[in-house]
Symmetry: C2
Subunit: 409 residues, 2 copies
């Protein structure tokens, strides 16, 4: 079950002027569940995004990148769940283009003004006919206030829908930011089996929009791991409709730029953490904080060695303070000149290890007490620099194996 | 249960002249089980080894490296199971030295002529008194023909003991090679929670002995993974007693050097594969063969991305041909210029994917049939070079989680 994750409530999700959402049940993988989402954007809306770095990236990722590079402007995003259209070769490319063309026909725009996204099982042909048959139902049903339905329509193995809204006042104008995301397995940075869509009614210059989504991704979706597998389909998209009366924001270091970045990153972080809390089979939410490193890379390298280790993750599942496994993970993280005698390991506020071994003050009962919590922080203080990094992960349970051993059945 | 792994039979394990083995039950972690092994070597025996690259390497690893660098020659190896003496700081170093001194006293040699090895739980103090109390029993009980007992005495979560003998005739002289190993979790190259000892009665010059053990490790223990965790304690030691009447072997490229290397590598490979077959919770033995790469590094990089992926491993556990997960792993292996349309993926002899997607000839029934086997080969043909690499791994089951969630109980 999700770890301390409250399902979003429709009333708390704020419409973003200029974004309309249409949902349909197209029977892509299962009957009678929402599996198709159309996000229609107003004229003049701008879109920027970051995508998976997987070399086997899915057809829709390739097509979405192409379409984003067109000058005409994006008019809609089309998302299906139940099939990833990945590892599908030329046919997959054709299928992605066909669904874009079908939606463009309904909306009266060019196919290149549609961004396609798919999530679900890999290496099976996209059921194009089901999607095109479902599109009219989604399009005739467009509303600005159904973000919760939208969040539900993009779920795969997610148990809880992920959605959040924030508002910020800039120069006296209230700006709204609403985001949804999906993902709970194949989660590792760059990106994850993860789709995220964040929309704001602010007007943001295109270059800044791209910088903002990259910055938000680096502080959020690129700081999580469930199983270390980087998916073929991941994408985080940032939409700025410009419907607010606030002036256009152009500079990252302007007052408005900084204020908006902060809230967008907060929304992205909230969604990313929700993905981990809903990680496949998760029973614990674990924050890995690496402090005092020379640079961010080495902090993340050590953090991910811990966060990915099946031995660490199964120990947390069992609430077993077998904390030497964390030391072992730090040791094999690949920092060649790491002085293990100089570092300190904490579990929450409890000092566990120092001087290369167990701390004299550490008693197992304290470790045991913290291991039984559902939210736990592993803190590694390297004492070799001034840089910190924070990652989030979950434990590794029977249910992870169960979910992934029977994913397609 | 171990996958197609027959327990060794005492009668098939050949004594190596110059190596005597003494075993004791020292109650280190559990009562009444063999947990202490002394391998006494004849005068003039030579020893070389490779050790874990984990920065948090255990005290005995540090001490063994120091002692190997001494000029006096090694007279005995001392191995305990039940406690790894890792993450134990200065006290751990003192404890390792104390056990060496105790054994040296019994054997009438210097403490620096003893190599210590420990395996088991991390970050708990070594029960030195139990070990020193157990040593006289081991020493008074030395025999040349109890390799099976020795293999059993070093087991931790292993279900089956790992031991094998081979003989090779070089220039008319029969040379014997016998090896034992342990390990089944925290298994990943450089090295693994793995201890391996291979002894031969050949005479081998010291520099060649070191080269031979490195070469054997690179082709065997450095080609396996169970869970991606590199242990703090791993070691593979090669012992050459020189008791055979064969001339001393000095050159790797001599007839005798090549012949012996081949058999030593075969023994090491057999032991390494046995570790994977007995991998924690394993139900399938999976060979990952990456062909047509530009260099060995990229072949291994892709092979390990597949072999480590929890999603791939759970699919194999379920006999579910969700083979897109293998493509995803290839895609995130980090080969930036990889042309995914050029590669082919096979499961045993069945072509699964080509041209960036599912092969036209592939039918799921064929994939299903192979997934149900207990021995399976994943073959990736990259078509970008002439280099191949082969790795071995196992699947990821409920029992992996179970074993590691309750390891200390």
């Amino acid at each position: 079950m999700p770890v301390n994750l409250t399902p979003p409530v429709a009333a708390q999700l704020l419409p973003v002027a200029g974004v309309s959402l249409g949902i349909a049940a197209a029977n892509i993988k299962r009957e009678n569940r929402k599996d198709l989402l159309v996000m229609q954007l107003c004229d003049g809306a701008r879109v920027a995004g970051v995508f998976t770095k997987n070399r086997f990236c899915a057809a829709p990722v390739i097509v979405a990148r192409e379409h984003l590079a067109q000058p005409d402007g994006i008019r809609a995003l089309l998302v299906n769940t139940g099939n990833a259209n990945a590892g599908t070769g030329e046919q997959g490319m054709n299928d992605a283009r066909t669904t874009c063309a079908a939606l463009a026909g309904l909306l009266g725009c060019k196919a290149s003004q549609i961004l396609p996204f798919s999530t679900g099982v890999i290496m099976e042909p996209l059921p194009v006919n089901k999607i095109t048959a479902g599109l009219p139902g989604a399009v005739t049903n467009m509303r600005e206030d159904n973000w919760l339905d939208a969040a539900q329509a993009i779920m795969t193995t997610d148990i809880v829908a992920k959605a959040i809204s924030r508002q910020v006042t800039i120069d006296g104008v209230t700006i709204t930011i609403t985001g949804i995301a999906k993902g709970s397995g194949m989660i590792h940075p760059n990106m994850a089996t993860m789709l995220g869509y964040i929309a704001t009614d602010a007007a943001i210059a295109q270059p800044l929009l791209q910088a903002m989504v990259s910055e938000a991704a680096n502080r959020s979706f690129n700081c999580i791991t469930v199983d270390g597998d980087t998916s073929t389909n991941d994408a985080l998209m940032l939409i700025a409709t410009g419907k607010s009366v606030l002036h256009e924001i152009k500079a990252a270091d302007s007052h408005a730029g900084k204020a908006l970045q902060l809230v967008i990153t907060e929304v992205a972080t909230n969604l990313a953490q929700a993905i981990v809390r809903d990680g496949e089979g998760a029973t614990k939410f674990i924050t890995v904080q690496v402090e005092g490193g020379r640079d961010e890379d080495e902090c993340k390298q050590i953090g991910y060695a811990i966060a990915r280790s099946p031995l660490v993750k199964t120990a947390f599942f069992a609430s077993d303070p077998n904390l030497g496994r964390i030391l072992a993970a730090i040791g094999y993280a690949g920092i060649d000149d790491l002085d293990v005698a100089a570092l300190k390991l904490y579990l929450d506020e409890v000092l566990v290890a120092e001087n290369g071994g167990r701390a004299a003050s550490y008693v197992e009962e304290e470790g045991q007490r913290i291991m039984q919590q559902s939210d736990i922080t592993i803190r590694v203080v390297l004492n070799r620099g001034a840089v910190n990094a924070t990652l989030w992960t979950c434990d590794f349970s029977y249910d992870y194996v169960k979910i992934n051993a029977s994913y397609r059945s």
